[in-house]
């Protein structure tokens, strides 16, 4: 007799739910936030996956940079770069 498999998400964590339309709305909102706050990654992503959109991706990044929305990303990225380079005793 094969053993039963336990659910990865237990019943007590399943209380907050949404309909499939709610899921789609959440995904679209998430994608929009990602587009705004992660625009620094857009040109590289576009180059790799959809080169024809490279110019558009660059334009979006430039526009968001002009209104300083890329600042949080840049700050975190620079901080991690510094942390990544630091070594013990140096």
């Amino acid at each position: 007799m094969a053993s039963a498999q336990a659910d990865a998400i237990p019943a007590f964590d399943r209380e907050h739910t949404a309909s499939p339309r709610g899921v789609l709305t959440a995904c679209l909102m998430g994608a929009a936030m990602l587009l705004i706050f992660c625009s620094r990654e857009l040109p590289a992503w576009a180059d790799q996956t959809l080169p024809e959109l490279s110019d558009t991706a660059k334009q979006i990044d430039d526009t968001l940079n002009a209104v300083d929305l890329t600042a949080p990303y840049d700050a975190i990225h620079t901080f991690m770069q510094r942390l990544s380079d630091s070594r013990f005793g140096g």
Binding site: M1, A2, S3, A4, Q5, A6, D7, A8, I9, F12, D13, R14, E15, H16, T17, A18, S19, P20, R21, G22, V23, L24, T25, A26, C27, L28, M29, G30, A31, A32, M33, L34, I36, F37, C38, R40, E41, L42, W45, A46, T49, P72, Y73, D74, I76, H77, M80, L83, S84, D85, S86, R87, F88, G89
Partner: protein, 470 residues
């Protein structure tokens, strides 16, 4: 198409939109998910889709034949043919060149001048997982543990469902097929799913990828260039890296499946807090451990035929589990070490029982188990057996050079990775509870922001998941 990429996000948005549109049309939704899964698989190599389709067809047909008769001989013959077909497929792609190398080495040792040619075949991604799905289905139908699947689309979706297709978890037919029989009517547990996806993304993109790039990869590439301290830290680093990489993938797979309305089983449960190897295997890659137990260890006799046979069964099961990971001697050694460890643990369990029950004993055995697992990871991660030997020699000497490769970030990530092992489960539930107070659109915004922060935190580029190679 890796999960943490823009391409996958675009793909998933389309699938989520279609899934919402087809919510009231379950058959059409299953058909759409099957097509989407084959499209997802075709992104690696479209030719592999024929393998997946062939494996599905064999399992489906074998299930129907087995269920159609009570003639034991015919049932046994059918299950035998189907399992052999799956194993031949797996062996051809995974072990052919390994066998050729060993045969050629044998020829050379005997002075025979002939050399078998290498096939130079690309390993189809996820083949180990979908063949195991196929095998478990036909065996379960044979054992009457699961109802035969009569709808081809259900079988195709069970075998190909994209969240688990390339790296598991290995979902049993008895767990997944009933979900395809009729719509559950349950609403989507969106908060838990999103939290799992975000947590998985952080573990993979930040923890695993930084540990790999800044510590594990350079040290394992040239172990003789580093002192004992770096080698020890890289070993701990790899233990945390492989946990974060694989459990991170699994978390994302579970979350994605839940967003589409399907449940997946638990695959990791804080494995490094285990007080014994047996417990470790009940917490690490649970779906594979259970698969090996139900389809290999138990059919070999399990623990029913005396202690000696039990030890041999444990070693044989873990050896085959090691070989499942790849056709290399280092995986054979890794499996043999775990099998030997499990046998030794069982042999000494009576002697250590009283010790294990005491608080200090629990701490000691947790540390011992973790370090044994770390030692085995050296063979698993090293380029080959010889490199692993050099690595272990370096660990046993050369502690005077101090730490040169590990930095504050990597040590911090190792500490964080170990802390996760001992954090109470209520911690995740509290996050889900807090996050769940937002409406669905608000949760989407928060999730998008979190992904943006993870993207800013992680090193450049997206490295493939470790278990993709298996």
């Amino acid at each position: 198409m890796l999960f943490p990429t823009l391409a996958f996000l675009g793909f998933f948005l389309v699938v989520a939109a279609l899934s919402a549109a087809l919510d009231k049309h379950f058959l059409a939704k299953k058909l759409m998910l099957t097509i989407a899964s084959f499209y997802f698989y075709a992104q690696w190599n479209w030719r592999f889709c024929f393998l997946l389709a062939g494996s599905t067809a064999v399992s489906y047909a074998a299930g129907l034949v087995i269920a159609s008769t009570e003639d034991q001989r015919k049932r046994r013959l059918t299950v035998g043919i189907a399992v052999t077909a799956h194993l031949l497929l797996l062996s051809f792609f995974k072990y052919r060149d390994f066998v050729t190398t060993q045969v050629n080495a044998g020829f050379a040792a005997l002075g025979i001048g002939t050399e078998l040619p290498f096939a130079d075949i690309v390993l189809p991604i996820g083949i180990s997982f979908f063949t195991f799905h196929g095998i478990s289905y036909v065996v379960d139908v044979y054992r009457k543990d699961v109802e035969v699947c009569r709808r081809p689309v259900d079988m195709a979706l069970y075998m190909s469902f994209f969240p688990q297709l390339v790296s598991g978890p290995i979902v049993r037919a008895a767990y997944f097929l009933p979900q395809l029989a009729k719509p559950s009517g349950d609403r989507v547990p969106i908060t838990a799913a999103l939290v799992l996806i975000l947590f998985g993304l952080f573990k993979k993109m930040v923890m695993a990828d930084y540990l790999a790039a800044n510590l594990v990869d350079p040290v394992f590439a040239a172990p003789t260039s580093y002192g004992g301290a770096d080698l020890a830290l890289a070993t701990y680093g790899y233990a945390v890296q492989i946990y974060c990489d694989f459990s991170g993938y699994t978390d994302m797979a579970i979350g994605l499946a839940e967003l589409l309305g399907f449940r997946f089983p638990l695959n990791f449960r804080q494995p490094y807090r285990s007080q014994s190897l047996q417990e470790f295997w009940r917490r690490w890659h649970i779906s594979l451990s259970n698969w090996l137990r139900d389809y290999l260890y138990k059919p070999l006799g399990g623990s029913r035929q005396g202690p000696m046979r039990t030890y041999l069964n444990l070693i044989a099961t873990m050896l085959l589990g090691g070989i499942w990971h790849g056709a290399q001697w280092k995986f054979v050694i890794w499996g043999a070490l775990h099998g030997g460890g499990l046998a030794a643990e069982r042999l000494t369990m009576k002697l250590t029982e009283r010790w294990r029950a005491r608080q200090i004993g629990k701490v000691v055995f947790t540390i011992l188990t973790f370090h044994f697992v770390c030692f085995c990871w050296i063979f698993f991660r090293a380029q080959d057996f010889d490199t692993a030997t050099l690595y272990i020699q370096g660990l046993a000497s050369g502690w005077s050079t101090g730490v040169t490769q590990a930095g504050q970030l990597t040590v911090g990530l190792i500490v964080l990775g170990m802390t996760i092992q001992f954090t109470p489960r209520t911690w995740l539930s509290n996050i889900i509870e807090t996050f769940g107070r937002l409406p669905a659109w608000g949760q989407g915004c928060a999730a998008g922001l979190t992904v943006a922060i993870v993207e800013a935190l992680c090193p450049p580029g997206v490295s493939p998941f470790i278990y993709f190679q298996f």
